[in-house]
Symmetry: D2
Amino acid sequence: MGMPLELNTMIVTKGRAERLEENLFRLKKDGYRLYPIDILVEVKKTIRGEISGTARIKKVEWTEGKTILTYQLLSLHTTN
Amino acid sequence: MGMPLELNTMIVTKGRAERLEENLFRLKKDGYRLYPIDILVEVKKTIRGEISGTARIKKVEWTEGKTILTYQLLSLHTTN
Amino acid sequence: MGMPLELNTMIVTKGRAERLEENLFRLKKDGYRLYPIDILVEVKKTIRGEISGTARIKKVEWTEGKTILTYQLLSLHTTN
Amino acid sequence: MGMPLELNTMIVTKGRAERLEENLFRLKKDGYRLYPIDILVEVKKTIRGEISGTARIKKVEWTEGKTILTYQLLSLHTTN
């Protein structure tokens, strides 16, 4: 039996990101997920939604069936 | 949406490995699975079974929701 | 000792993609690389270059220290 | 540019594991490393050494170019 994981290429917040500091956020996701760390990734609110910003993941934690991301939001694409 | 994959640390044949040549075998598994290539891995018939041999994976192919392994069986643990 | 691999989130061709059929291409890269398969990825000529298209990877092969991608180019962003 | 990582199938302590509690240990490794979490893995002191025990990884953290494992040592193979 192997270990299920999911390869993710962007951050999808579903509005659940928690602000830790100025531009530092934490996001908890179900399951073990592989994210690119230290490089730029796109941030979206929903999978099919528009890109809402660019971030750099600073920390990935896997424990108890969850993935906890800590990321720095570098730019925000606001659409009015 | 991410891409589901499974991290595997050994080969579990379930008796479905196909011999290609002398000690070269091919095994098709469902889903996309990550296996260590070029290094020694254990081979088992069933997940909870005993180790039946040692192999070196020479090729991993991912396509159409399947993983195809080509591996060299290096030693066989026979139990009579 | 582990197995080195590289997580890639987009296809960088460096002008070395080989056309197999109409919109089907093959690209050989050094090392074992993990790419998202079956989902949309961006295609670039160079790492820091502009996005030149969108593709869907149909096959990933790992063998002899190389990664061979077969991908379908879905759209091309031409800039004149 | 991708993100380098290393697929590991066992824990190699090099004598640097730190005891946190009774049978709970922490180990810091260089680089980002993929380990199977929640399933049984072998523990060794050195890559080519004998198996010194069996463990279950409870937490994997990736940050600042390091991987920090928290694991439960389940059995110890002592050789006198």
